[in-house]
Amino acid sequence: MRTLRRSPAIGLGLALALAAPALAQKKGGDLIVAQPAGTNTLDPHFTASAAARNMMLGMYETLVTIDENASPIPMLAAKWEALDNGLTYRFELRKGVKFHNGREMTSADVKASLERFGRVSPEKQTMAAVLAVEAPSPYVVVIRMKQLDTSFIDRLASPASPPTIIPAEEAAKDVNKTANVSTGPYQFVEWVPDSHVKLKRFDGYVPSPAAAGRDGLGGHKTAYFDTVTIRIIKEASARVAALEAGQVHFIEDVPIPAAKRLEGNAKLKLMDLMPFSQPLVYVNTSLPPTDNLKLRQAIQAALDIDEILAAATDGFYQLNPGWVYTSSAYYAPDAGRALYNQKDTKKAKGLLTEGGYKGEPLLMITNKDYQFMFKSAVVISEQLKALGVNVKLDVLDWPTMAAKALTSEGWNLATSGFAIQPFVGPYSYLKLFWGPAHVGRVASDPGLDQAWTRFNSSLKQSERKEAWTQIQQRMADQVYILKLGDQGAKLGMTRSLVGFKPYQGAHRFWDVWLE
């Protein structure tokens, strides 16, 4: 059966006709996807992993969401406005939006969903500044704030742990007790933990009339597949074998050596998700010897980032000194650039002498659960040893390493990574780069305080961007953390899969079909 996307506005329809090449979208088919990790829960307010996002974002929708570059756009809201200098937000809801149970979504559902999100979500701080959620009429939601939170809409739109809109009766239930019901283009069929999640097309889906086509996690979405099954195949070689055997249509995270081999397979195609994550090194500024700024600067000056990332990513990386991806509205390429990837051994040795470094042991922790962290730690420790730093490398497992890196003791350098943070933008670094939980264990820094305060007090993006640039520069000057670069990921799929576009927010299986 052939269907064409229809748009209510003639102008939009015309624009679409001009912009889109003649692709014959086909309804039907059962898509099978394989990814390495599963999810522990499908509770719409209780997930925080990339694996869960791929499974859920086809069926769960939010009031606002993010576009192709992670800027907020309306989804279930038709529009929103900030009133009273950001102390009130007024959302107008789209009319006629149906839940998977057939009932129409109204403001009562939105209110109940946001309140539940504020009670149970790992990201419930989103609602910390909210005084009340009100539903004055069926299609209007008003959120009153206790104080200004300039990141409120960003957080509300974030897919990291999204404030999904679910029926009010479901929102009354405890964690993991809700039915998997929302308003997305696909609806829930079954979930077998550690095995698969199965979705089917929701024929009652009401796409957003305002958009011409897919845009980030929002826009005008169309589900083409009859069903989508997301299988968990942990072992990379088994995933590749399943794709080659034609038993799955799409796989995530193809190992780079396997990708080179698959390029020769006429039935398959590969796509790059670049960037996919940011490998980095936490620096503990509260424990000797890395409490010494000169030593930290020496380490920063010595690192040869190309060498580190070539090993850590099998050569699939790009250099980027910034803490957000290049597509972000906040991208500040020059802040900290001069201090990035210096490969300057002479300068580093000078800084070591200046700082009075006497060969005190420097403890670097890493883990083998995430191979890029392990490989980058090995190369970094060799580079620092060559400089004359007495590095001790401690290989732990991920839970041990992660728990240790959240304390001030037992480590000087720790390899880690960010994936969703650099995509969704600076607000996601608030708790990481500022305050008592600073990743560099920084007790206080007036320079950073001032910049974050600026960031938090303006609703104007230009002013916020300036503040963010300052923050990025300060993090580099003080070597509170070391950015390595942007790492890519390879996605493998059958040639018959049409319309797919890699996206950092999640893999989108709407506006995609099988030929």
Binding site: A48, P122, A238, A245, G417
Partner: protein, 314 residues
């Protein structure tokens, strides 16, 4: 015999108590906690702390231990920290896959191991014997992980006969169930086939040297009757011992094979739980695994007495 079994079952309680106590203590000593795993890579200390509070992960060791045993007495294995369901439910969902896999692997092991070992014993130092023993050496030496991947490439990619992984419950059709499990069961069984074939060969070969076998042969009985009716009976005790050990190894070996073949079984549940520090699942999983081991050992001991009338337990 009844009293013996009762006594063994009583000892089982003690074994399980020790196993759970030791595992609880070890998990307590291992650093790291489920909150950091749940919060994900790059999470802030703040997020981790909120998750910790939500799940009451701060309670002292003895309090948690007490709670766990109190729950166990009520038949409650507790709630998984990460899975959003009870431990009993999580294990119940995964046990059928592991038992299916282990059963099929057991059938392959017992069938092939005994048959190959016997054939090799009857035809010692012939090419048959050499071939079987070489296969046994290969089986013992090849890592199950590697073998699994090779089987996937051969049977799924090259010839496209079997699925590359996944599990189909028996309720959805025996054919699909068998097709999904035959490769993982084969890669799990090959190691045990090697062991069992070797032990069967040496035991049967030894028995064939006995006087009563010579007598049987002198009566003019065919080789197969001599082996089947007279020699094999006496060879069953050592074979049974190895088979008992093999069964335990098939269960524990499922951790790796379930990962390679994406089978949602107990082994994978345990591996994930250990990596994520999901303490209640680790405890519950170990309890169930220990119970299975104890039952297998008891079954082997009881079978001894049944197979060999000379063996009597007090």
């Amino acid at each position: 015999m009844g009293r013996y079994i009762a006594r063994r079952l009583l000892a089982t309680v003690l074994v399980l108590l020790l196993v759970t106590l030791i595992s609880f203590s070890i998990m307590h000593m291992v650093p790291g906690d489920p909150a950091v795993v749940m919060a994900g890579v790059g999470a802030s200390a703040d997020q981790v702390q909120r998750i910790r509070e939500q799940f009451g992960l701060g309670a002292p060791f003895l309090v948690r231990l007490g709670h766990w045993y109190a729950g166990l007495l009520r038949g409650d294995l507790g709630q998984s920290i990460l899975l959003g369901r009870s431990v009993a439910q999580a294990i119940g969902e995964r046990l059928p896959a592991t038992l299916s896999l282990a059963s099929l692997a057991f059938v392959l092991t017992a069938g092939l191991g005994i048959a190959l070992g016997t054939v090799a014993a009857i035809r010692p130092n012939t090419w048959v014997d050499h071939a079987v023993m070489s296969l046994a050496v290969v089986g013992v030496s090849v890592p199950g992980f590697w073998l699994g991947l090779i089987l996937i490439i051969l049977f799924s990619v090259v010839v496209d006969w079997l699925p590359a992984g996944g599990y189909v419950p028996l309720a959805q059709g025996a054919g699909a169930w068998f097709r999904a499990l035959v490769l993982p069961a084969a890669s799990l069984a090959l190691l045990q086939v090697g062991l069992l074939a070797r032990i069967t060969r040496s035991t049967v070969a030894e028995t064939l040297q006995e006087d009563y076998v010579r007598t049987a042969r002198a009566k003019g009985l065919s080789t197969w009757v001599v082996v089947g009716r007279h020699a094999f009976g006496n060879a069953t005790i050592p074979v049974m011992t190895v088979l008992g050990i093999s069964t335990s190894l098939l269960l524990s070996g499922s951790v790796v094979v379930e990962t390679v073949f994406s089978i949602p079984g107990l082994g994978r549940l345990m591996a994930t739980a250990i990596l994520a520090r999901d303490y209640p699942v680790i405890q519950g999983g170990l309890l169930v695994t220990a119970l299975l081991f104890v039952v297998i050992n008891l079954a082997v001991d009881v079978l001894y007495a049944w197979l060999d009338p000379r063996i009597r337990y007090e």
